[in-house]
């Protein structure tokens, strides 16, 4: 049984082209890009090409705006700390209730350290309360950090609008775009975004590499100090092979963006439509209009997510659950709770996240296998008979 992998928002496979591009950097091209000799020079040039590829995918104005990091979490932390250092007197931070733990936990920690944190809520479709955001911006605000696309529901936030509001008040705006990069077109040179985080392993590059976009002129101080790598903005010898891989992955993503937005979206839409048609009492979470093309968060009432996942796993289908049993906590995810998804459904939420490597046949498998699984579990559920 070949597995049907539909958990691409968790991580993606490394594309063959990416792996091939990386391989020489483990063997013949092993120089340190900081070295002055030929060995280093060759590698430094390739790192620069990768930077160009990342910049191009983001639509950044200059390669100088790209800083390589180890992952999305590091990019987020670097951005937020840079803002806090730039404005040491400003003690107010703004984020949303549905951020990834990389931002959520960071802001909670900063809250305990004395910063005033405003967390903007979302509505039942996961849409940000823009009115509250507007009201919350004040002289004390150092940074607003709001994700571009939600990892669980795929809901897209109006980052351009948020950025504009921030800019009017001279507040820095950072967006965690880990899920959005490579899936939707971006043109940062024409957008009021000061900093943006991305992660390699969400777009078919390896794990352990990420990048932070820092618009020219944005006040910045390094998070990791030491050597002079990355123009003194992040010390530490570059993870060269992975950076090369990230560059190649960005180039691929740029080429495949059309496919992501047509073929992948069509598969996702078909999956949703068929599941809704064949399974009673289920619904899709997230903004029906503004949503990533690859993500489907679907709630099945009166049953529990882990049980669904494990039964699907029996049929080789790999997805993830929005309830918690799989994450070590016993509550439904904070995203679903923030959206007010009722308990009857929140526990039974499954996230399917597709990639360009998925096929129609795989979607057929899910459409065929999932309805009987849901029916079986409901037969066992004490609440189903009452429903």
């Amino acid at each position: 049984m070949t597995p049907v992998y539909l958990d691409n928002n968790a991580t993606t496979k490394v594309a063959t082209e990416v792996m091939e591009a990386m391989l020489p950097y483990f063997t013949e091209l092993y120089g340190n890009p900081s070295s002055m000799h030929t060995f280093g020079g060759q590698v430094a040039a390739s790192v620069q090409t990768a930077r160009q590829e990342v910049a191009s995918l983001l639509g950044a104005a200059s390669t100088d705006e790209i800083l390589f990091t180890s992952c999305g979490t590091e990019s987020d932390a670097t951005a937020v700390h840079a803002a806090l250092r730039a404005f040491p007197d400003k003690k107010h931070l703004i984020t949303s209730t549905v951020e990834h733990p990389a931002i959520k936990a960071l802001f909670e920690k900063l809250g305990k350290e004395g910063y005033r944190i405003t967390t903007i809520p979302v509505d039942s479709q996961g849409r940000l309360n823009m009115e509250l955001l507007t009201q919350s911006l004040d002289e004390e605000t150092a940074i607003v950090s709001i994700m571009w696309a939600n990892n669980e529901t795929g809901t897209l936030f109006p980052v351009e609008k948020i950025g504009r509001l921030c800019r009017e008040k001279g507040i820095l705006f950072h967006t965690d775009a880990v899920q959005a990069v490579g899936k939707i077109p971006m043109d940062l040179k024409n957008m009021p975004i000061d900093m943006l985080s991305l992660s390699g392993h969400k777009l078919h590059a390896p794990k352990g590499v990420g990048a932070l976009f820092i618009r020219k002129g944005t006040p910045f101080s390094p998070y990791i100090v030491g050597g002079h790598q990355e123009h003194g903005r992040r010390a530490g010898t570059e993870n060269v092979a992975s950076i090369i891989g990230l560059g190649r992955a960005c180039r691929l993503a740029e080429e495949k963006m059309g496919e992501e937005n047509t073929r992948v979206r069509a598969m996702r839409d078909r999956l949703e439509k068929e599941l809704l048609r064949h399974i009673p009492k289920c619904f899709i979470n997230g903004d029906p209009d503004a949503r990533l093309p690859n993500t489907c968060s679907i709630s099945f009432e009166y049953i529990e997510g882990e049980a669904i996942l494990l039964m699907m796993n029996q049929h080789g289908i790999c997805a993830s659950s929005g309830s918690a049993c799989t994450s070590g906590s016993l509550e439904p995810s904070h995203v679903l709770r923030a959206m007010g998804v009722p308990h009857t459904a929140a526990h039974g939420t499954i996230r399917f996240s597709l990639s360009i490597y998925n096929t129609e046949a795989e979607i057929d498998t899910v459409i065929e296998q999932l309805p009987p699984i849901v029916a079986r579990l409901r037969e066992m559920s004490p609440f189903w008979s009452e429903a």
Partner: protein
């Protein structure tokens, strides 16, 4: 992914005795949809006063379903006196063990069984004893203390795995930890107080020392320097020199480096300012 035994897998994938007994003698319902798991256990006694039929309906994860399924197998054919002795450990054992985060699934089985027997005997519903500590899962201090003492739980994770208490919003963590510490006869750890006050002179000396040994060397390396001008209460007035004085990031140096170091090494409330 949880590490389940083959027995758990088997009972989850092919559960036995799913459903509800018609005209049951015993009914036990525990849990709720908000809690993320729930179990309805029903049984019927035969003429020999042994359980002739037992069925379950479970809302929950794989181990909750497996615990319920194995429980029905364990009680069929036994007298009530015999099944009364079944504990959650017996249920977990019959499954070849459960991950510690999932022990509460077996506890749910035991509770449903107790309730079903009480129903048969016509005993009134037990009312919650004690004060609710975990509001997410409705768990009282009495429950937590009992579990800690009887099962030898020593950590918050143990308590959450066993009772679910603490597995939600986390607001009750402090209180649960205190109950654990008290039950173990430990002294309660008070939150750390700021270091005892130094005299002004001691503070100034400490600031000077720290500047000399911890801060200056780094600045000198970068072609700069720093001079202490005055200390006024918690305000430390300094003057940056050399490259630091003209550096466009001097503010960052002051706050991030000088102030941060002084705060960790001398007193947490110091504020560093340019004289």
């Amino acid at each position: 992914m949880w590490d389940y035994t083959d027995k758990v897998r088997e009972h989850f994938l092919n559960p036995k005795n799913v459903g509800e007994v018609e005209n049951p003698d015993g009914i036990g319902e525990v849990g709720s949809i908000a809690c993320g798991d729930a179990l309805k256990l029903t049984f019927r006694l035969g003429k020999d006063k042994k359980i002739a039929e037992a069925r379950f309906k479970t809302f929950g994860c794989a181990s909750a379903i497996a615990s319920s399924s194995v429980l029905t197998e364990m009680i069929i054919g036994k007298t009530l006196e015999e099944v009364e002795k079944i504990s959650n450990d017996d249920i977990a054992m019959a499954l070849g063990g459960l991950p510690k985060e999932k022990i509460h699934c077996s506890v749910m089985g035991q509770e449903a069984l107790e309730k079903a027997i009480a129903y048969y005997k016509g005993e009134p519903e037990k009312i919650l004893e004690g004060e609710i500590i975990c509001h997410c899962f409705n768990v009282t201090d009495v429950d937590i203390r009992r579990a800690v003492q009887e099962k030898g739980l020593t950590s918050l994770e143990d308590v959450t795995g066993y009772l679910k208490a603490g597995g939600g919003c986390g607001n009750c963590h402090e209180e649960i930890l205190q109950i654990i510490q008290k039950s173990q006869g430990m002294t309660i750890l008070e939150p750390k107080k700021p270091a005892a006050g130094m005299t002004n002179l001691q503070k100034i000396r400490k600031i000077e020392e720290t500047l000399e040994s911890e801060i200056k060397p780094a600045l000198i390396r970068d072609g700069g320097n720093i001079e202490l001008v005055d200390v006024d209460g918690n305000r430390v007035l300094v003057r940056l020199q050399g490259a630091c004085a003209t550096c466009s990031r001097s503010r960052i140096t002051l706050k991030d480096h000088v102030e941060a170091r002084l705060r960790t090494l001398v007193a947490h409330d110091l504020v560093v300012e340019e004289a």
